[in-house]
């Protein structure tokens, strides 16, 4: 048998294995419905509308992102309010 044909058979066997496996499952539709809804909500709703990647979407280069974060890290340093009593 040619190597290509053997690989094709293997792929077909794997596909059949998965297909038959899913068909034979007795876990019920409600489980898969909940899983599908959950994944849809997470990726189709939450990710797109509520959780943009702040730095990824707000800046076009890593240099800009680094500069922005460095600016965040180096604010004017306030004087410490060391009015607290030390022992």
């Amino acid at each position: 048998m040619r190597p290509g044909a053997a690989a094709g058979n293997l792929l077909r066997n794997i596909m059949v294995f998965y297909r038959e496996g899913f068909r034979g499952m007795t876990l019920g539709r409600s489980l898969w419905l909940v899983v599908a809804i959950k994944i849809l909500v997470i990726f189709g709703l939450l990710k797109i509308f509520f959780f943009p990647d702040f730095l990824e979407s707000g800046f076009s280069t890593d240099r800009q992102r680094a500069d922005f974060v460095l600016e965040q890290l180096t604010p004017p340093i306030p004087e410490p309010t060391t009015g607290s009593e030390s022992p």
């Binding site: 007795t26 990647d53 990824e56």
Partner: protein, 511 residues
């Protein structure tokens, strides 16, 4: 700028992360632990060829599948939150977390997706030996996936093997080995994995107890309880050992956390471990008074726990806030000075680089290097800000330890009754058994509260406080998504618990 950050936004972002993590953590420990239980059952089934063991294995495998399916993708929400609510943090740790999380992804993808399918679909369709190997590979793969997530978390508690790059504002890995084998990472993984086995054993006992109370599937339920009790006993004893290792790692790397968990205000030589105590409502660390009252202590055990020496000194909260020259301890007060020097050097480095003053930049970089271990303290307004919430840390730690101490006792009781097969006479124990999953889960959550609340105010220990790690967003938007999650998770959890209960109610015959 950080000073314009809405502090309530940080609180809402933390609450949202905690809510998501707690929801996620319902499924993860069950996956981590149950998979070993199933692998063992499968091995017995393989060796004996006994149909009853095969039926038992298939049943627990089915519940495992339900748990895995409903838990899938819940962890990804945490990643979304990093990018949106914690963008400074995400940027800064990208180089450190990149490697562990990429390995985790590869493990999850190759091991879990490949061998999961063979484990679930492989009955009578692949060779018995390969099927058994697949089940063990799922157990191994799931737990190896967890290793990398826990390594990442451990790095936040003890940021080893890194160097801060002031040009890119990123922590860069300089020793993969130091990150992976840091004592905190090793203790965190072993403690989490073993406690997940306890929780999974409780899950098995809960379901099996319910069957015995209902008079259904007696043989399978009794066998499951025997096996789960042995699992629970061995793993809960190991949990005590790994808990001790965790406490030692915390004492060495995060002594403030240990002091908060123990309500230890002033350091002591030969310090007692508080077994039971009450945190005063009006405690104030600036007062030189005890934080806790009605204490029942175990003499000198805290010193042993912290330093492996009964007579050793254990620093208290005040020692770490105000310093203790006698013990050569720097306080947050002194660390704040070093932290501000580091921040000023970072600012000088930036401006010198922009001005083309390479000599000035090099000098600023040297100053930064000399003080960077304390850079996070530069953001604190007062030394007392370095103290985590004491009451929450104290109670979480103590309730977790109390529950963890009871777990081996419970497993011995179940083992004895199962061994003698006298469940009919001990229906009260079975009733307790049906709800064992709840204290098991609570102990897990408490463990995470100890780990995460106890290290406040830090996102990365000593280097990055949470208010600097957070994105500047309005608290309104984060609050809105918090309640959206609360609603969503509640609905999903009800649906998911309903599906699990239905599968339990169907029982093994339908498998």
């Amino acid at each position: 700028m950080i000073e314009n950050l809405d502090p309530t936004m940080v609180d809402w972002a933390r609450a949202q992360f905690a809510l998501t993590a707690m929801y996620h953590w319902i499924f993860v420990p069950l996956t981590l632990g149950l998979t070993w239980f199933i692998a063992y059952c499968h091995t017995i089934s393989y060796r004996t060829g006994n149909e009853e063991w095969k039926r038992l294995t298939r049943f627990w495998m089915r519940l495992f599948a339900v748990n895995f399916a409903v838990g899938v993708a819940t962890g990804i929400i945490l990643e979304f939150e990093f990018g949106t609510n914690w963008s400074n943090y995400s940027w800064m740790v990208g180089d450190i977390f990149g490697a562990p999380l990429a390995i985790e992804g590869l493990f999850a993808f190759f091991l879990e997706s490949t061998f999961f399918a063979v484990m679930f679909f492989g009955w009578d369709r692949v060779s018995r030996r390969f099927h058994l190997v697949s089940t063990w590979m799922v157990a191994l793969g799931s737990n190896l996936s967890a290793v990398w997530i826990l390594v990442a978390n451990a790095w936040m508690q003890h940021p080893a093997g890194q160097e801060f790059n002031p040009d890119t504002a990123r922590f860069e890995m300089n020793s993969f080995r130091d990150i992976v084998f840091s004592p905190v990472a090793v203790a965190k993984f072993t403690h989490t994995a073993s406690s997940s086995m306890v929780l999974s054993a409780f899950f098995v006992i809960s379901v099996s107890s319910w069957y015995l109370l209902k008079g259904r599937h007696r043989t399978m339920a009794r066998r499951s309880i025997v096996l789960a009790s042995v699992f629970c006993l061995l793993s809960s004893l190991f949990v005590i050992f790994t808990g001790d290792q965790s406490a030692y790692a915390v004492a060495q790397k995060q002594p403030m956390k240990l002091a908060a968990c123990e309500g230890l205000l002033r350091g002591q030589t030969g310090a007692d471990l508080i077994a039971i105590g009450v945190v005063k409502d009006d405690h104030d660390i600036r007062d030189d008074k005890q934080v806790t009252r009605l204490n029942i202590g175990i003499p000198e055990l805290l010193s042993y726990l912290a330093n492996r020496n009964f007579k050793s000194f254990v620093p208290g909260v005040r020692d770490m806030v105000y310093g203790n020259p006698e013990q050569n301890l720097l306080g947050a007060k002194q660390k704040m000075v070093k932290g501000r020097t580091a921040l000023a050097a970072l600012a000088a480095y930036r401006s010198d680089r922009q001005a083309g003053d390479e000599a000035g930049a090099a000098a600023a970089r040297d100053t930064l290097r000399a003080n960077q271990d304390y850079i996070g303290y530069g953001y604190l307004e007062k030394p007392e800000d370095a103290v985590p919430p004491i009451a929450l840390s104290f109670y979480s730690f103590h309730f977790m330890v109390i529950l963890g101490t009871l777990f081996p006792v419970v497993s011995v009781l179940f083992l004895l009754v199962a061994w003698r097969n006298t469940f009919e006479k001990h229906r009260g124990l079975l009733r307790v058994g049906t709800i064992l999953l709840i204290p098991g889960m609570i102990a897990h959550w408490l463990g995470w509260i100890v780990a995460e609340v106890g290290r406040q105010p830090w996102a990365i220990q000593d280097l990055l406080p949470v208010n600097v790690a957070a994105t500047r967003l309005s608290s309104g938007s984060v609050r809105a998504t918090f309640f959206l999650f609360l609603f969503l998770f509640t609905v999903l959890l009800i649906a998911e618990v309903g599906i699990m209960l239905k599968q339990i109610s169907i029982g093994p015959e339908e498998g």
